[in-house]
């Protein structure tokens, strides 16, 4: 885990109307990744198409990173707003690179170094006014003493797609001019070195959470997706729209979220693994159909890339506010699984498990991701497809039935009944959203309803076995500690870093992050909670939704550690909460 001096945090900001901010950040992220570094990025973008402040942050180090980094080593400011917003986050020895055409910098009392680059003048001298961001990238390449070949490769990868050769050429010119400006203005010795690796390192890929998740969908054998555009989930739909045709899959862009969910349910009814992906407001619309899938016992996978609410809230900001909706949304008890991806890498590996849960137990599954994890690109080990084990749903076997009549919803010890697939002779039934007889015919007797409620609920109890057998959680820190920290989803990143950093101060913490929230790994949790005097629950929502679930289940208090501002936790915030808990124990 990196400590001060071992990693580098670069933040770039400007107005989105001017453009090029995310491109600058991404190009630099690719460059660092290709130079052999581990990269972790985060960004905030306005919800408007043009105009508004954009920030892109990249952290790079030799060791794997799990959080975005709290303080800045380098701030690249295209405009005054960026400077005003962030200069106080710069480390005292940090470096400010600014567009000296637009920005006069006065920072009396701050020790950090300042380098002004007349980005617009340089770009205009090339008759390419919009290329000022390439000038900035070129300047950074020189300031960090990086390899220009890698820079050219990175720019070509980011901009080369479908672009005319001349257009790429002027961008590369601007890159070169930025490089030369620093060479002449600053001298031979660059002020910063990236901690570049000395030997060849293990191979890495650089992907976003959404991309990883979509790859997980393909690896899971899913070939049917219906979606409806919504930030920040659309990328999953777009990814599958591009890849599915190669492999005989179908992606339908539906007319709304309800239709998207309905198409996925219809697709699954025919025996296919089927899914949809959305964000909070879309999940709210899908709830009726998800309850119906629970009642009809139809497998269904719904990805919810959470963003800030309530209502349309802040589409481009992160939140974990949909847990309660995911677990309990719907009329009456409608059992479903809730799975939470913990990292960009986990976005790939958790999807096959989520599909297995829905297929094996014939109840819907909601996979929770979040805006920050979904849009952030990060270096991870190339996905190991051999780790993916796809389980099949229990399909009715007419031969074994030996002429006996088929009953779709016949009761069984784990609540799962064999499903007949349209096309199978003798297996005809109607999937029924009304309460029903085992045959599927509508029925409203008190006894039958009570029996069916127990049948459907029993699947959650049975699935605990799958969750525990596959160890679908992450555990770290010191098991002997009396301080326990819990959470779910991407909060694990800053928590992991906080736990490691505090260990160097002598504060021991034990952490557990279940990847399946419904059903919880009960034995694992009971073991974890034993002997814990301080129990913290970290999550990015206002009311402490997971903490309240745990309190209700275990009837003991949990300390809520919440962030609900729309930006990810800082490691320092988690550390502060743990220090408080530590102080209480004394």
């Amino acid at each position: 885990m990196p400590h001060v001096g071992q990693d580098l945090v670069l933040r770039v900001g400007g107005d989105s109307a001017a453009g090029g901010i995310v491109a600058t950040g991404e190009i630099f992220a690719y460059m660092a990744a290709w130079a052999g570094l581990e990269v972790y990025t985060t960004r905030t973008i306005p919800a408007e198409i043009k105009g508004g402040h954009v920030m892109y942050q990249m952290r790079a180090a030799l060791e794997p990173l799990t959080a975005q980094g709290d303080e800045l080593d380098v701030l690249l400011a295209y405009d005054e707003e960026t400077f005003e917003r962030y200069y106080k986050m710069l480390k005292p020895e940090g470096l400010l690179v600014f567009n000296s055409n637009d920005l006069q910098v006065e920072t009396t009392g701050h020790r950090h170094r300042r380098i002004g680059v007349p980005m617009h003048d340089i770009a205009k001298s090339l008759n390419f006014a919009r290329g000022y961001n390439m000038v900035a990238v070129g300047a950074l390449v020189k300031l960090f003493d990086m390899d220009m070949d890698i820079a050219i490769q990175s720019v070509t990868k980011r901009l080369g797609h479908g672009r005319a050769a001349e257009s790429l050429a002027v961008n590369l010119d601007a890159l070169q001019k930025g490089f030369e400006y620093i060479e002449q203005a600053v001298g031979k010795e660059p002020p910063f070195h990236l901690p570049l690796p000395k030997e060849k390192r293990a191979e890495r890929i650089i992907v976003s959470g959404n991309q990883a998740l979509a790859m997980g969908v393909i690896a899971s054998g899913c070939r049917f997706m219906a979606g409806y555009p919504i930030t920040p989930a659309s990328e999953i739909m777009e990814f599958l729209a591009a890849e599915f045709p190669h492999i005989g899959g179908t992606m339908i862009q539906a007319e709304d979220e309800i239709a998207a969910c309905g198409m996925a349910v219809g697709g699954s009814f025919t025996g296919q693994r089927a899914m949809t992906a959305t964000s909070g407001p879309g999940l709210a619309l899908m709830i009726e159909m998800i309850s119906h899938a629970s009642m009809t016992e139809t497998p269904l996978l719904v990805v919810d890339v959470q963003r800030v609410g309530p209502s349309t809230g802040m589409p481009t900001k992160v939140s974990q506010g949909d847990l309660r909706l995911a677990c309990y949304g719907g009329n009456d008890d409608s059992p479903r699984f809730v799975v939470a991806a913990t990292s960009v890498e986990d976005c790939f590996y958790i999807v096959p498990h989520a599909f297995n849960l829905t297929e094996l137990y014939q109840a819907p599954v909601i996979v929770l991701s979040d805006q920050d994890m979904a849009v952030r690109v990060q270096t991870v080990a190339p996905f190991d497809v051999s780790k993916v084990k796809n389980e099949s749903r229990l399909v009715w076997d007419p031969k074994a039935a030996n002429g006996a009549g088929y009953e779709r919803y016949v009761d069984t010890p784990n609540g799962v009944s064999a499903m007949s697939i349209p096309g199978q002779a003798g297996g005809q039934y109607t999937a029924e959203g009304l309460e029903h007889f085992p045959s599927g015919a509508p029925a409203f007797s008190a006894e039958l309803h009570a029996k069916n409620m127990r049948k459907r609920a029993r699947k959650l109890e049975a699935a605990v076995e799958y969750v525990e057998k596959n160890e679908l959680w992450e555990e770290f820190g010191d098991p002997s500690s009396t301080i326990g920290i819990l959470g779910w989803g991407s909060v694990i990143g800053p928590v992991r870093e906080a736990v490691i950093d505090l260990a160097t101060e002598g504060i021991k913490v034990h952490a557990l992050f279940p990847k399946v929230i419904q059903p919880l790994p009960e034995h694992k949790l009971a073991e974890f909670l034993k002997g814990k005097q301080e129990r913290l629950v970290t999550e990015m929502n206002f009311s402490g939704q997971f903490a309240e679930m745990l309190q209700a289940k275990y009837l003991i208090p949990f300390t809520h550690v919440n962030s609900y501002s729309g930006v990810p936790f800082l490691t320092s915030e988690i550390m502060a909460a743990i220090r408080e808990a530590h102080a209480r124990l004394k």
Partner: protein
């Protein structure tokens, strides 16, 4: 991994079995009121499947909520009784995930034209290869007699411009909302087969349903299906309906609009039909364009430096 097969012609689904209409009756007995028009539609549907020789296991019927929602359970086939208004998305998912099935969707006027109205244009423009039968009684039946999107202006508990009214509880001062015209809607949305039937005309209905089921693309069939309990319109429809003139050209969209807008007659028959690639055919064309050069390893490889 199972990829989704893509055949779009219904021909392989025809003449597979020799079954009588009664063989398509399931063990579930209809819950409809005696005299309900829906019985006629159900009987016509059995007859259509029988005439076409469709294997029960190859047919799937999706529905929403309401009296019409119960329809799939009464047919010896696969069925999906969904949520209110969503028969078309469910049917679309079923057909596109397995184009080798014969798929029908069933709705009522409330289900199809109120809560589910947002799906009709899209099923039509996609030309999804399925048959959508809407049993139109111009009232909400299962919720006991409120105005529907096809109810006439003036409908109130005390009377109606036509038909015997016993409810219309949601419009105690008379319905002031103009009814929509489903045939005009379907024409405007681009449905490629558009017809109207009447549940008291069984033979004609059977022909329309058969044409719909064998049509390549989206078939929309409105069927007047009176509700004897809350709004008995049998006499009205008997009086007002008339077969489309023999010289009506069902390839002429403007003529179809004119016939659908006629206020003197409620025409029955095939208003319009056209040939257009179905959704499954378009999906197949996309696959051919994309090619099948794919491996998980090469996908991951793309994200390396």
């Amino acid at each position: 991994m199972t990829s989704i097969p893509l055949t779009s012609t219904v021909a392989p689904l025809l003449n597979q079995v020799k079954l009588k209409p009664n063989d398509y009756k399931s063990e579930v007995k209809p819950i409809w009121c005696p005299g309900c028009g829906d019985f006629g539609v159900l009987a016509a549907f059995y007859r259509a499947l029988s005439d076409l020789g469709v294997s029960p296991e190859k047919a799937v019927i999706a529905s929403g909520i309401g009296c019409s929602g119960r329809f799939p359970a009464f047919v010896e086939s696969y069925g999906f009784h969904g949520v209110h208004g969503r028969a078309l998305p469910l049917a679309t998912g079923i057909k596109m995930a397995n184009p080798d099935l014969m798929v029908a969707a069933i709705g009522g006027d409330g289900d199809a034209f109120s809560i589910g109205a947002g799906h009709l244009p899209h099923a039509a423009r996609r030309n999804i290869d399925l048959t959508y039968i809407v049993m139109d009684n111009e009232i909400y039946g299962l919720t006991k007699g409120q105005a529907s999107p096809t109810s006439p202006v003036g409908l109130s508990p005390k009377g109606a411009p036509y038909g015997e009214i016993k409810a219309a509880k949601s419009t105690p001062y008379g319905n002031s909302d103009a009814p929509i015209n489903p045939i005009v809607m379907a024409l405007a949305y681009g449905a490629t087969y558009i017809a109207r039937g009447f549940s008291s005309k069984p033979r004609e209905m059977v022909e329309l349903i058969k044409r719909g089921l064998t049509h390549k693309g989206f078939a929309f069939i409105q069927i007047y299906s009176p509700c004897v309990t809350f709004f008995d319109t049998y006499d009205h429809f008997k009086e007002k309906t008339a077969p489309l003139p023999a010289d009506h050209n069902s390839r002429d969209k403007i003529a179809a609009f004119k016939m659908a807008l006629d206020e003197e007659h409620l025409y029955l028959g095939e208003f319009y039909t056209e040939d257009r690639p179905s959704m499954a055919e378009n999906a197949r064309a996309i696959r051919e364009r994309a090619g099948s050069n794919f491996s998980m390893d090469s996908l991951i490889e793309r994200y390396k430096g």
